[in-house]
Each structure stands twice: as structure tokens, then as C-alpha cells.
């Protein structure tokens, strides 16, 4: 009796949830009740997107996924609800909209970047990400930012820092927004992290070096 009532009440939501729930079950690992790497791969192929594509990260962001490579039932369903999608076709159609949102809305972009950093933290008490991860992530998160390739080159070359912390990450985001690509309006009395002060020094020294876009 109770069961039936519940089912009736949650009808509308369930109808939608029913869709995403069903979708979830297509990819999830029944043992853990979450979509694992293998499921993610299949899912990506079904939405015609490469797993390393930025759009997948955007999806993870929408889902507020906690673990890289995994989607829990709750995360998957709430993400799809936010996209108002229940089928892979619908998801696929919603992706450009997601990109636009992040492109045009600075708050969303900031939120996305913040998410990207935290998404890389694999251990529970981890607060830092290593340089290689940072470089990869930066390329995915802000592919069109003119300062990004140079910053990544710099990160790889410099030896003072082996890991990046959250403050440095968000500061670079702010740096990219405030400082011109030719670094001309950088002011050293501002409280940029030393990493970025070093970057400016390096950038000015290597001003005529061609940018490596690989």
C-alpha cells in the first residue's frame, strides 16, 4: 500500500527519474551501483564524445561528480535533471548549451574551474595537484585563453614548485582575466602568488619565444 502511494506521489519526478534512472542502469556496475571507467567509456561513445573531451568534464561539473572517472547514481541523475535530458540524444544536444554557459557566464566559468581543480584531488586529505595534472587540466578547462599555453610551458620548465595549490589555481584564473597577454599591466605590488610573479619574470625573459601549441 505504502509502496504504491510512494510510487504515485513521486510519479512526475519518477517519470523523469525513471528515464535517467534507466539510463544510469545501462552503464552502471551493478556491484557498486555507480558508473565506473568502463561504463563511462561506453556512455561517452553513446553521446559521440571522446572521454578526454572538455564536454565530458563539463558534464561531470553539472553532475557535481566527486570522483574522477566515476559517476554515482545521485550525481548522474541530478546532472541529467539539470540538463533536462533523459536520453543520450538529448544529452548530446544539451552539450553545446553547456559550453556556451561556461563561455558567456563568468560566474559559471569560475565555478567550473574551481570544480576542475577539486576533481583532480584523489585522496581525501589531498590539497595539491602535481604539475602534469595541472597542465593537462588547464588545457581542457581554458583552451582558448591566450596566456594558457605560455603558462603551461612555464609550469613545466620551472623547478621551484612541484605541485599547485588551490590558491595558485584560482589566482591564475584571476590573472588570466585581469592581466593582458603581453603582461604589460601586471603590477608587482599586487599580491599575486610567487608562482605568478615568477611566471611574469619568465614570460618577459622569453617574450620572443614561439608558443608551443602541442
Amino acid at each position: 500500500m505504502m509502496k504504491r502511494a510512494k510510487k504515485a506521489m513521486g510519479g512526475a519526478a519518477n517519470r523523469a527519474a525513471g528515464g535517467s534512472s534507466a539510463l544510469f542502469e545501462q552503464y552502471c556496475d551493478p556491484a557498486t551501483d555507480e558508473i565506473g571507467p568502463e561504463g563511462v567509456e561506453r556512455f561517452c561513445s553513446d553521446i559521440n564524445t571522446d572521454p578526454s573531451d572538455r564536454k565530458v568534464l563539463l558534464l561531470a561539473w553539472k553532475m557535481r561528480a566527486k570522483r574522477m572517472g566515476f559517476f554515482s547514481r545521485e550525481e548522474f541523475q541530478s546532472g541529467l535533471t539539470a540538463l533536462k535530458a533523459t536520453t543520450t540524444a538529448q544529452i548530446q544536444r544539451a552539450l553545446p548549451g553547456l559550453e556556451e554557459q561556461v563561455e558567456c557566464n563568468p560566474d559559471s566559468f569560475r565555478d567550473f574551474c574551481t570544480f576542475a581543480f577539486k576533481y583532480c584531488l584523489t585522496e581525501p586529505s589531498q590539497k595539491l595537484i602535481d604539475i602534469d595534472t595541472a597542465v593537462t587540466m588547464l588545457a581542457i578547462v581554458m583552451p582558448r585563453e591566450p596566456l594558457m599555453p605560455r603558462f603551461c610551458d612555464f609550469l613545466k620548465e620551472q623547478t621551484e614548485y612541484k605541485v599547485i595549490n588551490f590558491d595558485q589555481w584560482t589566482s591564475f584564473l584571476r590573472f588570466a582575466q585581469e592581466v593582458k597577454p603581453d603582461l604589460s599591466n601586471y603590477r608587482d605590488e599586487d599580491a599575486w602568488p610567487i608562482l605568478l610573479d615568477n611566471f611574469v619574470e619568465w614570460g618577459r625573459r622569453n617574450a620572443d619565444r614561439p608558443i608551443d601549441f602541442t
Binding site: N165, S171, E189, D190, A191, I194
Partner: protein, 754 residues
């Protein structure tokens, strides 16, 4: 009695005219008797009556006007013609005479017409009688003659400047006219005379200075400048009005000092640098006095002073550096730190001497002005932070203090002189950026002095007190702790010995004196796990028994490298040769090694090492000091040369002979690892910066980076000069450790996270 009929104007006036005529004759110097009381009364009364008569016979107004006319007429008739054709001195003389006359005239006439002053004039707010006279003189005489008189005056003044004698009184008296005709103000004096005087003065000195600066040396020029200023001041005193003084001197200062200042100071062989070089204190004093008169005049002098002192200091640095390098090249072994003979030590002495010398300059020549104290400070800060042969000034100063403080370290100086020198050296500490580095080196030297009992107590306390006053209690906390520890140790030792008496086995245990050091205060010492001979173990555990009895929960860590042992050594086995020697060994290791030979006359190094669990390099040093130096207690078997190795074998030298009964066995002192000290200090600084940032943020809650930096630098300035980048790095580190966070609304501000 006269009739009560009113006096008619013309009648009364006629009588007055007679009085006026008489007065004129007197003024012209004619042979005319003076006014007597009677005549005076008559004249006065006529006026009185004519003014008190009832209208229409009240002739006040007419009389007043006619009074004025008297002056005008007389001036036109007599005064102006008299002045007409005169020039220069004659003009001035005549003008003076006429002015005096005029005053006499005014005095008399105003007495006759006095009644007008009382009622008519005040009722109608008119010029007083004396003013009327003055105004007539001003408008008719003065305005006509003022330009000629001015020219005459300036010519005289010019002559006086060129050395001629002039009539000062005359000038003064004529200038008095200019002042008086201005009535309440100095306008006439200023506009009709002073203005031109100032221009003429400027022109005069401009000409002179141009010649002097080309021909004279700086000191000679300054002498002339001083003389001019003195002269002009005298001039004011002699005949000018006092208000002219500052304006006049300003002209002189401008033309003579300000215009040519740079040229003078930079004169090749006589400018500031040359004077400093040649110790020309009197000239420098004069320079100070002169240029302090112009605003900003002392700045170039102070700058030159600073440059000179800094150059002298840098020369000392370079010479000492070169001397040290040369010695190293020559292959001479560097004397042990603290002998006071090497170039580095004499460098500190020279810096002290330099400081004394130039401080005296500031006091004597530069009148103790703060501008010059600052210049001295900046100069010293510039070169006191350079290195000599890789050693920082901090280390050199600590070493030099060690030489002075060590018992017998600086015998030729004498007790009081040592105290004075220490005081001066510590004062130099103010110029050091790395004060904490000095503290660390000083602490290490102090510990050695204390443990070797080479201290002279009153000097040590003097220095500690001075350091505390100059740098704060935190600076000397550890050092005071060390001194305290040893004082306690002495008391403790006595208590220990008394305690031993009460023990059962007293008498069988070897005598032992223990100093307990508080870990935090003392430098860290390498601790080695040494296996001691049984006798020593017994002694140590006896002390431990006492100590555990006395204190609770304290752990004792024995530092064998700092111990001394006296060993009775009987080299020969034979019964008829019982010579014994007292070996004063400078470390416990010696004892441990030697006592092994009680059990076997010959021992392999590898055996000794096994039994003692001593690292090979330390064992090697001990063996070398027992066998490779003057007093060969042990002998190495075989012909091996060079330092002892693990494969060698040693035996007691049974043929050992010495004329001395007591023999010192020393372990060579390892000079402090400079690098380690610098590293330790560096670590301490990071902690200090962290603490300062947290302290600041805790109280201010929200601050921008530049403010944090300036607060921290200021807080730590007594210990060291905090590096901006380092502070920034620590701020980031504190963000990582979640003591601080960046303000989201304003990313250049930081917030304290409680």
C-alpha cells in the same frame, strides 16, 4: 587788563608771524637769542584766545591751516633751495641738517599752537600738529630728494664694502628720516631705500663671488664668505634698520653660497671630498656653519660625507679580503679562529677605529646634526654587510669579541681597554642586517668559553647587558640561560659531593665534576654512543643517582666530546722506573681509548673501535693526538705514514719521557661549520617570519600584502632584515596551512583564520 574784545585774525596772526620769523632766524643759524618764557607764553596765549573766542571769532580752522602754511612756505623758501644742488655726502649732510631743523621747528611751533591739538584737532579727527609738520616735510622735501639721497647712500655703502671708511652716523641719521616719514609703517624705508639696497647688494656679491669661485680654493672662498656675512651683519648694527638684517643676509647667502654651492663642493683639490681626505676639520666646520644657512644646503655635504665614509669602509673591506686571499694562496695554515692576529680580526679593529674617527667628525665639525648621523649610519650599513674571504661581518665580530672575552685572549690591551673595545664593537652591531647570525656565532663561541672556563665574568656580563639593551631580551635569552646553567652547575656540584659522602661506596668511585646544561639554551652537540670503561660508567651512574634523586622526569644526555679527563700514566712496567705523568686530556674519548691499554699493551685499531663503538674518523683523531704529536703516549707499529687507519696497531710507549709532570693532550678543535650556522639561522628566520605574520594577522584580522610585509619587517628589524620575497612565500605557506586565506572580495587582502 586787556579789553574783552576778540582778537582779530590778522592782528593775532601778525603777532604770530613775528614769532615765526624769530624761529626762522634761529634755525638759519643767525645770531638770535632764544625764546624766553615770556615770549613763549605770549604766543601760546594768542592762539589760546583766538581758539576760545566765540564764533565768528573762533579762528581754529584758519589757524590750523596757516600753521601748515608756515611749514610749506619755509620749506619752499629755504629748505628746498638749500638741498638743490648738492650731491652725495654734501646732500646727505645738508638733508640731515634740514631735518633736524625741521624737528626743532615742529617742536616749537606745535608748542605755540598747542591748544589746537587739545580740542580742535581731536574734535575734527585731523592730523596732529607734529604730524602736519611731518607731512609737509615728507611731501615737499622728502619726495623731492629721496632718490638723490638714496643714490648717495648706496654709493657710500658701496665704498664701505670696498674698504673705505664712511660716516656711519650720517647714514644712520638720514635713514632715520626714511623711517620717520613712513609714519606708522616702514613703507618709505622699504620702498625708497631698502629695495634698492638689496638689489645693489646682490649685484655686488654676484660680481665678487664670480671672481672668487674661479680663483680661490674652497676653504679660502668660505673664509671670504664668512667675512662678508659678518660684515653685512655689522652694517645692519651700524646704520641699517634691524628688519633689514634677514633680507640682506639672504641676498649675500644666495649670491655667495647657494649659487656656487655645487661648484665649491666639487672642487677638485679643495672640495668636500678633499677636505675629508685631508682631515681639514676646521674647514669642514666652517662649511657646515655656512651651508646650514641655506635651506637644503647641508644635503649635498651630508651626501658627500656619506660617500667618503662608505668608500673608506669599502677600502678596508677590499684590503682585508685581499690579505686573506693572499695568505690562503701562500699556503699558510689559517690560524685558529679567535687568535686575533689574522687580517679578518684586524679588520674589525679597523672598522671600530673608522667609526670612532668619523663619529668625532659628526660631533666636532657637523655639530652633531641628525642629518650627518644618518649619513654615517647609511655609510656603515653599506659596507658592514659585505663579506671578507667568505666570512660575514657577523662572524668576524663574534670572533673578535671572543678574542677579547677569552681569558688571555687580548692580554696586551688591559682590562679597562678591553671593556671599552667591547662596547664599541657591540655598538657596530646596529649596522648589521644579520643580527641573528651574529647572535648564533656569538652563542657558539660563548659556549666554548664557558665550558673551557675561559671567561672573565665582568666583561661577559657587560656585553650581555649591552646586547640586551640594544637588541631586546629575546636576543640574549639563550645566552643568559647558558651563563646561568654554569652558575647553577657550580652549586650543584657542591651538593653532589656532599650527597656522595653520604653514599655507601664513596671513595671507590672516580672523581667526577658534572655540568648539567639546559638543552634549549646551548648549541646542539654531536652525541656519540661511546662505550665507556667500567670506572667511568660507575662514576656516571653515581651522578645519575644523585640527579634522579634531586629532580623528576629529566633525561641526561652525556656529551663526551666536551669532557676533560686527567689520567695517571705510568709508562714503564719495570719496578725501578715509577715515573708517572698526569695526562690532561681534552676529551673523554682519550680516556676511553687509553684505558683499553690497561688490559693489553698492544691493540689493533679495529679492536678498539669495536669495544668503544666509536666512529672511525673520531677514533682516528684521538689516536693521532696521542701518537702523532709532540707527546707520544702511544706508538704506531710499522712504518705507516699519514693519519691512523682501521688496520693499524698501537702500543703504549714505554719509553715515554718528558720534563713536565703534567702533559696536555689536545684534540684539534674543529672550527665551526659556517655553513651549518647559516643554515640554522635561516631556519630560525622562517619560523620567526611565520610567527610575526601570525601575530600581525591575529591582531589586525585583515591586511593587504604590503602592510603585512612592512609590519613584519619592522617587527623583525632588531634581529635581521627580512626579505620581502621570503615573507611573501611564508604568507603562501600559511595559506596552505590554513592560518590565513585570501579575501574573495579583494584578492590583494588576506584574512586571519582563527
Amino acid at each position: 587788563m586787556g579789553d574783552r574784545r576778540p582778537i582779530e585774525l590778522e592782528a593775532g596772526w601778525g603777532k604770530m608771524q613775528m614769532g615765526v620769523a624769530k624761529l626762522k632766524r634761529i634755525l638759519e643759524g643767525e645770531d638770535e637769542p632764544q625764546f624766553d618764557a615770556d615770549l613763549y607764553m605770549q604766543l601760546y596765549t594768542i592762539i589760546y584766545n583766538m581758539c576760545t573766542q566765540k564764533p565768528p571769532h573762533d579762528y581754529s580752522e584758519q589757524l590750523y591751516n596757516r600753521y601748515r602754511d608756515v611749514f610749506c612756505v619755509y620749506i619752499n623758501e629755504s629748505v628746498i633751495p638749500a638741498l638743490k644742488d648738492h650731491r652725495e655726502d654734501r646732500l646727505l649732510g645738508e638733508l640731515h641738517r634740514r631735518w633736524n631743523n625741521h624737528q626743532v621747528m615742529t617742536r616749537w611751533l606745535s608748542r605755540f599752537f598747542n591748544y589746537l591739538d587739545r580740542y580742535y584737532i581731536s574734535r575734527h579727527s585731523l592730523d596732529s600738529l607734529s604730524n602736519v609738520g611731518l607731512i609737509c616735510f615728507r611731501d615737499q622735501v622728502y619726495s623731492d630728494v629721496k632718490r638723490r639721497a638714496r643714490d648717495a647712500l648706496l654709493t657710500l655703502i658701496d665704498k664701505e664694502r670696498e674698504g673705505e671708511k664712511i660716516d656711519n652716523m650720517l647714514v644712520k641719521n638720514v635713514l632715520d628720516i626714511y623711517i620717520r616719514v613712513g609714519m606708522e609703517t616702514m613703507d618709505k624705508y622699504e620702498n625708497d631705500f631698502e629695495k634698492d639696497l638689496l638689489v645693489a647688494t646682490a649685484a655686488y656679491y654676484k660680481r665678487k663671488a664670480a671672481v672668487w669661485v674661479a680663483e680661490d680654493s674652497c676653504p679660502d672662498y668660505m673664509l671670504k664668505a664668512e667675512a662678508c656675512l659678518r660684515q653685512e651683519e655689522e652694517r645692519v648694527g651700524n646704520y641699517l634698520h634691524i628688519s633689514t638684517k634677514p633680507k640682506l643676509l639672504e641676498q649675500v647667502e644666495n649670491e655667495v653660497l647657494r649659487v656656487y654651492q655645487q661648484q665649491l663642493l666639487e672642487k677638485e683639490n679643495s672640495g668636500v671630498s678633499a677636505l675629508l681626505r685631508d682631515d681639514k676639520k676646521e674647514d669642514l666646520g666652517r662649511m657646515y656653519r655656512l651651508f646650514s644657512r641655506i635651506s637644503g644646503g647641508l644635503d649635498p655635504v651630508a651626501a658627500a660625507f656619506r660617500k667618503h665614509v662608505e668608500a673608506d669602509g669599502m677600502t678596508l673591506v677590499r684590503d682585508a679580503d685581499a690579505a686573506a686571499a693572499a695568505k690562503k694562496d701562500a699556503g699558510k695554515k689559517k690560524p685558529m679562529a679567535g687568535t686575533g692576529d689574522d687580517a679578518e680580526q684586524s679588520f674589525v679593529r679597523q672598522v671600530v677605529a673608522l667609526h670612532d674617527k668619523y663619529r668625532l667628525y659628526v660631533e666636532d665639525c657637523f655639530s652633531n646634526a641628525s642629518l650627518f648621523h644618518k649619513a654615517l649610519k647609511e655609510a656603515f650599513e653599506a659596507f658592514c654587510n659585505k663579506q671578507i674571504a667568505g666570512a660575514t661581518m657577523a662572524q668576524l665580530m663574534a670572533d673578535y669579541c671572543n678574542t677579547l672575552l677569552k681569558k688571555g685572549g687580548a692580554e696586551k690591551l688591559g682590562d679597562e681597554a678591553i671593556g671599552v673595545m667591547l662596547d664599541k664593537v657591540i655598538k657596530l652591531l646596529a649596522y648589521l642586517n644579520d643580527k641573528d647570525l651574529f647572535a648564533e656565532f656569538y652563542r657558539k663561541r660563548l659556549s666554548r668559553r664557558l665550558l673551557q672556563d675561559k671567561i672573565v665574568e665582568h666583561h661577559e656580563m657587560q656585553v650581555l647587558a649591552q646586547l640586551k639593551a640594544q637588541c631586546g631580551a629575546q636576543f640574549t635569552g639563550k645566552m643568559e640561560g647558558m651563563v646561568n646553567d654554569l652558575q647553577l652547575a657550580r652549586d650543584n656540584q657542591q651538593a653532589f659531593e656532599e650527597w656522595c659522602q653520604g653514599q655507601a661506596n664513596s671513595g671507590s668511585v672516580v672523581d667526577i665534576t658534572v655540568s648539567v646544561l639546559t638543552t634549549g639554551y646551548w648549541p646542539s652537540y654531536k652525541t656519540l654512543d661511546l662505550t665507556l670503561p667500567q670506572e667511568m660508567i660507575d662514576a656516571l651512574s653515581q651522578f645519575k643517582g644523585y640527579y634522579d634523586d634531586k629532580t623528576k622526569n629529566r633525561k641526561l644526555q652525556w656529551i663526551y666530546s666536551l669532557g676533560h679527563v686527567t689520567i695517571k700514566f705510568t709508562p714503564s712496567d719495570s719496578a725501578d722506573d715509577n715515573r708517572t705523568y698526569d695526562l690532561m686530556c681534552s676529551s673523554t674519548f682519550h680516556a676511553a681509548v687509553l684505558l683499553q691499554f690497561n688490559e693489553a699493551a698492544t691493540l689493533k685499531v679495529s679492536d678498539i673501535q669495536e669495544r668503544l663503538t666509536l666512529p672511525v674518523e673520531d677514533l682516528s683523531r684521538v689516536l693521532h693526538s696521542l701518537s702523532g704529536t709532540k707527546n707520544k703516549i702511544l706508538l704506531r707499529l710499522g712504518d705507516a705514514k699519514g693519519p691512523p687507519t682501521i688496520n693499524d696497531t698501537y702500543k703504549i710507549n714505554t719509553d715515554f719521557k718528558s720534563t713536565m709532570r703534567r702533559i696536555k693532550i689536545q684534540l684539534p678543535v674543529i672550527t665551526d661549520d659556517k655553513k651549518k650556522v647559516v643554515e640554522d639561522v635561516s631556519k630560525e628566520r622562517t619560523h620567526a617570519v611565520d610567527a610575526a605574520i601570525v601575530r600581525t594577522m591575529k591582531s589586525r584580522k585583515r591586511l593587504g600584502l604590503t602592510q603585512i610585509i612592512s609590519e613584519v619587517v619592522q617587527q623583525l628589524s632588531k634581529m635581521f632584515q627580512a626579505d620581502v620575497r621570503m615573507i611573501k612565500k611564508q604568507v603562501e605557506s600559511l595559506i596552505d596551512r590554513e592560518y590565513l586565506k585570501r579575501d574573495e572580495d579583494n584578492p590583494n587582502m588576506f584574512l586571519y583564520l582563527a
